[in-house]
């Protein structure tokens, strides 16, 4: 960690573009499916053919209202669209339909966890706009190829207040937004595929200064890890420039993840002047009170509420509850396991331990798990009711993962039931003691640590099936004789 923290502080604001998971586009009935052949999902409206008019997709209003509610924000009614004018081949109209004066969502906030406790980050606004198409710069005889499938896909741009001060806070904020949009099911939030994109406005100033420094905007950051690294790089770069007596130029920079640097984008002769004006092809939208209430009624339980419930209902630690509640699918899996196992703590441990390890190993999501929630619940139930030991459970877990057998089937088929019969355990212990007279001598003359050795030998003799608590109790009595 550099020691600049003593003299400087960073001021960071994030602009997050979220692609909404509607079936059709913001203003046309063309499909929004990812990965289709070029230009097969670009209709007359997306191509800006003469005479076409945009017709608003009602679903985006529902999605934006849900996000607004989750961000504790105001919903503007009427809300209206504006034209942002610029020329670029992936935007056939010559303008993007966006929102300016009356964004649908305004003045919200989000609480994030930082190392210094909870911090509230203001959300200035979230507005609806169209995505652009894609330019392909491979060699088409010295020309660029244009695919307009993405043109007109609905986006929500979420703009934070410049109230973030460290790269870590930026990532926490971004992860929180990611979790929220996934909970609301308004976007898949896939950063690698570009359904969630992040631009970072960064400036630095001497601690205690109230005036903001000159900021740069860093684009092209497409993973949580890169957001942290890109912002850290940009903070260090700006401090170095200023410490060397140079000025910061207000500019847009691109993050290069391979070199871990940012570099300026080619600057134009004139600064971009988007000449916004109210969109004449669309009327202002009055969001009726009944419509908003109807949408509010469909709000799911959000991550923070779920976390609090996990702590109170299941007695989980804050840490466990936080990890499980951050991902909606994981949280659902957990609750399904608990329904069967009736043991929240053990279920949480197994999901975040064995199961997460296997999933990571094979790069699978929780929905692709090779063990379903019922199987894991059964397994934990068999530990809890004493049928199997924790050690055997791990073996069964492996078998569940690699076969399509059920828990009880494996236990019975392979005779893995735990040995709980005192007599049987006693005879195993007697055998171990008889076979190890030397260790017995040493133990009785005060070498207490050898107790573990005897436990290990007994467990081995039982092939891991002896009930560990009984082994401990009986062994202690026998050795003390």
């Amino acid at each position: 960690m550099k020691n600049y923290a003593d003299n400087w502080e960073a001021v960071i604001g994030l602009e997050i573009h979220v692609q909404l998971s509607t079936k059709s586009k913001l203003f046309s009935g063309a499909s929004t499916n990812f990965g289709a052949l070029p230009n097969t999902q670009a209709c007359n409206i997306d191509l800006a053919m003469p005479g076409v008019l945009p017709v608003l997709n009602e679903e985006v209003l529902r999605m934006a209202i849900k996000l607004g509610k989750a961000l504790n924000a105001d919903i503007n009614s009427p809300t209206s669209f504006a034209r942002k004018n610029y020329f670029y081949p992936d935007s056939p109209k010559g303008y993007q339909i966006s929102q300016m004066d009356k964004p649908i969502v305004e003045s919200g906030y989000l609480d994030i966890d930082t190392e210094n406790g909870v911090k509230r980050i203001g959300v200035t606004r979230a507005h609806l706009e169209e995505d652009a198409g894609k330019s392909l710069h491979d060699d088409f005889d010295g020309q660029s190829g244009i695919d307009l499938n993405r043109a007109g896909t609905p986006l929500l741009e979420i703009v934070s207040e410049p109230e973030i001060n460290t790269p870590q806070e930026a990532v926490a904020y971004l992860k929180s937004i990611h979790s929220i949009i996934r909970y609301l099911e308004i976007s898949d939030g896939n950063m690698a595929e570009g359904s969630m994109r992040c631009d970072a406005n960064v400036s630095v100033r001497k601690k205690g200064d109230t005036k903001l420094g000159t900021r740069t905007e860093t684009k092209n950051v497409n993973s949580f890890r890169f957001v942290e690294k890109a912002i850290q790089y940009e903070i260090d770069r700006q401090i170095n420039e200023l410490e060397s007596g140079n000025q910061i130029t207000q500019e847009t920079r691109l993050y290069d993840s391979q070199a871990n640097t940012t570099r300026p984008m080619r600057s134009k002769e004139f600064a971009n002047d988007y000449r916004y004006f109210p969109e004449p092809d669309l009327l202002p939208i009055n969001l009726e009170k009944e419509f908003i209430e109807e949408v509010m009624a469909t709000m799911p339980e959000m991550p923070t509420q779920k976390k609090i419930r996990f702590v109170s209902e299941f007695n989980l630690s804050e840490y466990d509850a936080d990890l499980l509640a951050a991902d909606k699918d994981l949280a659902n899996f957990f609750e399904a396991v608990v329904k069967v196992s009736n043991s929240p703590k053990l279920s949480a441990n197994w999901i975040m331990g064995e199961l997460s390890a296997e999933l990571n190993n094979e790069n699978l999501s929780i929905n692709e798990s090779k063990i379903n929630s019922n199987q894991l619940g059964q397994l934990i139930l068999r530990i809890e009711d004493g049928t199997i030991s924790g050690k055997i459970a791990k073996e069964i877990f492996e078998k569940l993962w690699s076969s399509d057998k059920e828990v009880d089937e494996i236990i019975q088929g392979e005779g893995l039931e735990q040995v709980t019969d005192d007599k049987e355990i006693e005879s195993m212990i007697d055998e171990v003691i008889n076979n190890n007279p030397e260790q017995l001598e040493q133990y009785r003359s005060g070498k207490d640590r050898l107790f573990g050795f005897f436990v290990g030998q007994v467990m081995k003799a039982s092939q891991g099936k002896a009930n560990p608590k009984q082994v401990n109790d009986i062994l202690r009595k026998k050795l003390e004789k």
Binding site: S24, N39, M49, D147, L283
Partner: protein, 98 residues
């Protein structure tokens, strides 16, 4: 409202209109006249009136989220002067790279 030649050229650039040097004076006069009309509008007393973003006092109708457009790629590509592999071809424009 007076416009400088520089402002005029910037406006033309942003609109991607290629303005010949010798037509600048007449264009400038026409644009200044138009801006003069807006200044007259600006002088109107509007403090009691709330801003409107559209002349029609209606709310925007919406459509259901359904895919209604079929794939018309081959038809639509016919409008373009140059296509390849289902892509529209345009003069090379790369923003963002050195």
């Amino acid at each position: 409202m007076a416009l400088s030649d520089q402002e005029l050229k910037e406006i033309a650039y942003l609109a991607r209109i290629n303005v010949k040097e010798d037509s600048l004076p007449s264009l400038k006069k026409e644009l200044e006249d138009i801006l003069g009309l807006f200044e007259e509008l600006n002088a109107a007393e509007t403090s009691e009136i709330s801003a409107m973003s559209h002349p029609l006092d209606l709310s925007q109708p919406t459509r259901q989220d359904e895919v209604t457009e079929e794939n018309l790629r081959e038809e639509l590509l016919k409008n373009a002067p140059s296509v390849q592999s289902g892509l529209f071809l345009v003069p090379k424009v790369i923003e963002g790279e050195e």
